[in-house]
């Protein structure tokens, strides 16, 4: 194992929450940050879905800007988002099920699917309404797949 590979592994394990226990304040900041990142996604998806639903006229430049933002969020390194003690059983206001910390393979797979869908919308958003609509479906499905398994129902 090379040195850099080792560093990457340590970072990954840290991001899974096996690192040192975080303070309540750290947990709160992490939950706010990850929920903020979801809200940024929702705002930009709203721009695209508004056009896809016919509530707003399709505009290639606007659609591209929204899709670029979604792609940017998808590329963020999330290692600081998921401290131990930030699951829905442990922290008021969190809706992430504890199972997310127990099923790394599942989370990684769904996260990769989201990344691919975000790349897809970034590539398609400026190419006309139909191309954008076609890419929006898989994006929504990738959001829903993770919510399905790891988000506590309201």
């Amino acid at each position: 194992m090379t040195f850099s590979r080792k560093i990457a592994c340590i970072a990954l394990i840290g991001s899974l929450g096996f690192g040192a226990a975080a303070s309540a304040q750290d947990v709160s900041a992490a939950v706010s940050a990850r929920q903020g990142s979801m809200n940024i996604l929702a705002l930009n998806i709203g721009v695209l879905a508004g056009m896809a639903r016919g509530n707003a006229e399709y505009d290639a430049e606007t659609a591209q800007a929204a899709a670029d933002n979604i792609a940017t969020i998808s590329m963020m390194d999330q290692r600081f988002y998921w401290p131990p003690g930030s699951d829905s059983d442990s922290f008021e206001g969190s809706r992430v099920l504890a199972s997310a910390w127990e099923d790394f393979a599942g989370v990684a797979e769904k996260s990769a699917a989201f990344g691919a869908a975000a790349e897809g919308i970034q590539a398609a958003a400026g190419n006309g309404l139909e191309a954008m609509q076609a890419a929006l479906g898989p994006l929504g499905a990738s959001c829903g797949a993770c919510h399905d398994d790891y988000r506590q129902p309201e």
Partner: protein, 296 residues
Amino acid sequence: MKRIIGVMFGLAVFGFGAFLLVTQPRSIAPEQLAGLTGDPVQGEAVFWAAGCASCHAAEDSSGDDRLILAGGQHFPSDFGTFTAPNISPDPNFGIGDWSLAEFVTAVQEGVSPEGQHYYPAFPYTAYHLAQTQDIVDLYAFMMTLPQDSTPSQPHDVGFPFNIRRLVGGWKFLYVSDEFTLQGDLAQDVARGRYLSEALAHCAECHSPRNLLGAIDSSAWLQGAPNPSGRGRIPDITPSALGWSQSDIANYLRDGFTPSFDAAGGHMASVVQNLANLPDEDRMAIAAYLLAVPDAQ
């Protein structure tokens, strides 16, 4: 004394007879379906509206995999864990050797070709309200789907719920010939009521149940505990939901809420089904939901 014993015996015989009568599995005779011809194209629309794939396809499947009805998904409940059977047209492991009358009996009366009651985890309480023609079309469509040779697994249900005959009594009490939303309905609301109550069976998850697991129609669509044990299935009556007709219809197509959150849980699968319907049908479901009474 002899006389009292005689009366008791008579009552017991009468009671047992009534039990047998009430719990007798009903079936549809082939003659009752004479003259009906199945249209697989219409049947596909019924298939998506009725949500068959949500339970009978593999969990998390998408695209064409949702047409492989191999069964195997587990459904925990207060009465035990039910496992969806294989309903692909495989003649040995699925329903490929079923006659049309057997199929209609299963879907609308909840009785198997062997004459046993199905548990109401299979939402025949809803399908009972469907037009027979729709179920005949559904049969035509489902027989075109891919065959799968996965054996069905048994349910894990304890005593006394494992006595299937008792389900007949449950049906006597709780299977209704009437829609829940009554009154003079506009055409789109009536269409939405048909789709929601007879096919899509929204109330199965969105309404609370009594101790015997029957839907409490006085709290229709007012939300319920999640049988998986986590959180609640939301109240979707008009004020509680607070969405417009187009908000609801759009959500049922693309899965985004008015705040552009994405549907999760079992609802993500429901959206995958309903996305296959024409826009008018999703608007009709939305019109129906806005006509359902709010919680008091």
